[in-house]
Amino acid sequence: MEVISQDRILDINIGPQHPSTHGVLRMVVSLCGETIININPIIGYLHRGLEKMAENRTYLQYLPIVDRIDYLSGFFCSYAYLNGIEKLLNITPSEKAKYIRTITMEMNRITSHLLWLGCFLMDLGASSPFFYAFIEREKIIDILEDLTGSRMMYNYYTLGGVKRDIDIDILNRIKEFSDHFETALKEYEDLIEGNPIFLSRTKNIGLINKETANQYSITGANLRASGIKKDLRKDSPYLIYNNIDFEVPVLNNEDSFSRFVIRIKEMRESKKIILQCYNWLINHIKDEEIKSNINFMHIKPEGKVISEVESPRGLLQCIIHADGTKKPYRIKWRTPSFYSVQLINNLAKNYKLPDLMSIFGSLDVIMPEVDR
């Protein structure tokens, strides 16, 4: 790469208010003509100080704030937080509570992947798949709204289980949704997967090989697209993932097209998991015990715990240091998008400006997770 003289470089910032930065990320991109020389991501525009807020709130007061860490997958964050506290107080949730948690988490994974699908294709210019993805997503959100009471900030999990039981008609709506969902997925594949324009935009662009993936501790679908078969639900199964059969899709041609295909496959896997949870839950409607009877207000846990969960964007860890008082001493959130943001610089070097959109879109980065 020959040295480019300074006056031929144009620095533009794809700034905080920009249609395609998935929130408020600012990228100072230095261009020579249209090829990208250097990207300097500047984050911090959505920093709400969630870790400092944990230090002066009791465990119950911090619970609603936990949904806002990654507002597209609220269930995963609240599960990571509560799983940590349950480990400290060694409470084990009942079998039914585990199933309800799994079914709601998998539905949340589908909504988060659908939103990513819509925004990714809108970045590349196709406007109609955005609406198809949101029509499907709206169906799930209606079900979750009737179950938990709100569309995104669920606050539905509590110590040892869930706050409210699932009744018959919500289960039937879930069943009817997952039957119809296969045709919707088929439609996305028809519309996009073979399309030569889409292939030329995403085929072998933004390659993450195995070393950089490990070096930058990338997790989730971006990692599985580079050939490393690593999914928390299989390696250390939590909840009920050990007695559910689903396979983890792995591709190894490392480009943003395989990241697209992997996420479509993951949605299919989540549909299978939902169906199996539905079959178990249908004939366990009657048993009542869905949460522990310990009063959440007066718990005083003690010790250190790392609780992990496989969120739609990767490995989400909530590390709690509790010192026996009512308030947690220190909570650290290890969020997956924080590490995929670092990757953009050496991923999108000397590609063209429009390719930056397809690389950054395929990484599925969400800014509340990065800034916390």
Binding site: P64, Y132, T148
Partner: protein, 120 residues
Amino acid sequence: MIKSFILPIKELIKGLYTVFKNGFKKRVTLEYPEKKKLLNNNFRGKINYIKENCIKCGICQNVCPLISCIKIDTDFSIDLSQCIFCGNCVENCPKNALYFTKEYELAVNNKEKLILKEDN
């Protein structure tokens, strides 16, 4: 060579066809002011307060994640402009003095109206 030329054309036509197929499906727009979405009673809308049940125990104030959203000292007041409708206070109130309504249109022209006093 022909294969690599005909296949993209077929895929492009398939893309057009799926968009065309979608044209004849049911519309999904919901004209908001005229037709409203029906909500079930789990919905977390505006919080109402029953004066008789309340024993002024202060649990709702301790449970609320916000700083000055619920005040309980002499008379009871909720600042709806701050409230995030998380439902902590409604669940942990021992005497069920607070309950959720299905009202979510809370646009007012001055903020004082959003502070729910005891009377209303």
